[in-house]
């Protein structure tokens, strides 16, 4: 397929279809609504299911049902709606079910506002629902990545039998860029012998459940799950490094904040300041090793976020509190400007932290 001009939200929807997803359940909310609108137009034409549920809670439980049957399935929403889904997400994790949940974040807390934000980082990476669990969390920074990481999320989710989240923000959801989407974006082919597809009297019943009456069994389930998480942490970390080789000041940023930061780094380099960027693409698993390695050389880190400082905790944990970590942030739907990030870089270079 040749390049087309797409909105970030449309790219998610089209990439999901090209990854073999034929079931979408959701409820409209700005700034994510185009995902649902696109699915509403396309799914009926290709024999798929688009269903606008009566609420986000219904939608996530419909996702649970389809995933139990072994099929690729997704839902999407924005921050307040994703809060509503948390119980269902915990149940998916507790039943070892793959699924894709998309969060095109807006300002919070509460009803907040419709402008972009990254303040659901804790909710996404630390488990927004109850119980011990993780989601694979992918953070796109371009419309092309909205598509590519959607396909990747489906594959990782199936491979490790755990839900995956695409954590985008309103800007990347609404902006338009040229993208190229291959006809087939996922090979699929993951065996799902656990799925409830009818026994045909040939096998034992499969049961999808997160309830364990015997505490020893529930403990075993948790331990087994965390063994799997370890493998994910070993094998699936994704990040981009930009001019970090000789960097004194290392900016860490994802999504829209990374785009702004790259501009600031170019400006800093023009002024002779050795600045670089680590852009986490997976927020869980977090690129701890890259940060730890950068800490050996760098003067310090700057976490650029559209939140009051959430990822900054993971940076500090990863670098072991060896170097200063400062925060450059805007909230409430505001985006830091390249000048604001440049000032933070200059402050750190000058020793003001």
């Amino acid at each position: 397929m040749a390049k087309v001009l797409m909105k970030g939200n449309e790219a998610i929807a089209e990439a999901a279809i090209r990854s073999g997803c034929r079931h979408y359940f959701g409820y409209p909310i700005t700034p994510q609504t185009e995902v649902a609108a696109y699915m509403a137009k396309r799914m009926p034409k290709i024999g798929g299911t688009f269903l606008q549920a009566e609420s986000e809670i219904s939608a996530i439980n419909m996702v649970y049902g389809v995933s139990s049957a072994g099929l690729r399935v997704m839902t999407s929403s924005s921050s307040p709606g994703v809060s509503l889904k948390q119980e269902g997400i915990s149940y998916l994790a507790g039943s070892d079910l793959p699924a894709l949940i998309v969060n095109v974040q807006r300002g919070g807390p509460g009803l907040g506002g419709i402008q972009p934000s990254q303040s659901d980082y804790f909710q996404a990476t630390k488990g927004g629902g109850h119980g011990d669990y993780h989601l694979i969390v992918l953070a796109p920074a371009s419309v092309q990545e909205m598509a590519d990481l959607t396909a990747k999320a489906f594959d990782l989710s199936d491979k490790y039998r755990m839900p995956a989240m695409l954590l985008a923000d309103g800007t990347i959801g609404q902006m338009m860029e040229p993208v190229e989407l291959p006809e087939k974006m996922s090979e699929g082919g993951f065996e799902k012998p656990w799925a409830v597809t009818g026994t045909e009297n040939k096998r034992e019943h499969n049961i999808i459940n997160s309830l364990y009456l015997v505490p020893e069994q529930l403990e075993d389930k948790n331990l087994e799950r965390y063994e799997r998480y370890k493998v994910v942490e070993q094998n699936e970390v994704m990040y981009e490094e930009y001019m970090t080789d000789d960097a004194d000041v290392v900016v860490v940023a994802f999504g829209i904040a990374a785009r702004v930061s790259k501009n600031a780094i170019t400006a800093a380099r023009a002024k002779g300041i050795k600045a670089g960027l680590i852009r986490p693409i997976t927020l869980w698993p977090f690129p701890k090793e890259a940060i730890a390695k950068a800490a050996e050389r760098a003067k310090g880190f700057i976490s650029v976020e559209l939140s009051m400082g959430q990822m900054i905790d993971d940076i500090r944990l990863a670098e072991g509190c060896k170097k200063p970590v400062t925060l450059c942030n805007r909230v409430g739907g505001m985006i830091p400007s390249p000048d604001e990030v440049l000032k933070a870089i200059e402050d750190m270079e000058g020793g003001a932290f």
Partner: protein, 218 residues
């Protein structure tokens, strides 16, 4: 030049950008120009983003009260009646995307039809995934007309791939616009091209435009 120019089309086809450029062009020849944002669909990237530029140029701007705010309330301002009822100003109307966006136009259509001094322009970008062919674009045209209550009178070829737009993209858009013109019987009014790119092109009917929206590169 008609008193009222309306830009409508598939969402993401470039209506707002064209409307802003059109208003600035009109202002060079006419004393009073007003641009009105009727978009009740899009939350970001709106006419109001260019408010400073427009007002500096002496163009009046009418936007939904909550545009660019944190409130998701698609309320249209009462000043819009002034735009269609009082005929002393040249007016540019930026209609929201798709048939859903065009529903808002329906409320004002009777005044525009009664005055009968308008150009209703279909903005086409054949690089958008749901309007890749003239047939698909025609379907969107008919949906918008049914929702907005005003038939189109012309086509604007705004085919582009953002920063990757080149001559091949523009020529593909021209061919498909010509085919759309054959299908619906309406003329192609112009091909809009970013002004730097337009300079190097040997094409008829090019409208050089400035791009309003800027993103940070990754």
């Amino acid at each position: 030049m008609h008193r009222v120019t309306l830009f409508a089309g598939h969402y993401g086809s470039g209506k707002t950008n064209l409307a802003v450029n059109w208003a600035i062009m009109l202002k060079k020849e006419h004393e009073r120009v007003v641009i009105a944002d009727l978009d009740i669909v899009n939350p970001y990237f709106r006419t109001k983003d260019s408010a400073e530029l427009l007002e500096k140029s002496g163009i009046e701007v009418v936007s939904p009260e909550f545009a660019n705010s944190n409130v998701d309330l698609p309320a249209l301002p009462s000043e819009l009646y002034g735009v269609v009822q009082q005929r002393g100003r040249f007016a540019v109307l930026d209609i929201g995307g798709d048939d859903r966006g065009a529903y808002a136009l329906g409320r004002f259509a009777p005044y525009i039809l009664e005055e009968n001094d308008y150009e209703m322009i279909f903005v086409a970008n054949f690089m958008r995934p749901l309007t890749r062919t003239p047939e698909e674009a025609l379907e969107v045209m008919r949906e918008i007309e049914a929702a907005g209550g005003i038939p189109f009178t012309a086509i604007a070829n705004n085919t582009n791939l953002s920063k990757l737009t080149d001559e091949a993209v523009i020529r593909e858009g021209e061919e498909k616009s010509a085919e759309l013109s054959r299908l619906c019987g309406l003329p192609v009014l112009f091909t809009s091209v970013e002004k730097n790119l337009a300079r190097g092109l040997d094409l008829d009917g090019v409208l050089p435009i400035e791009l309003q929206k800027k993103y940070y590169d990754l």
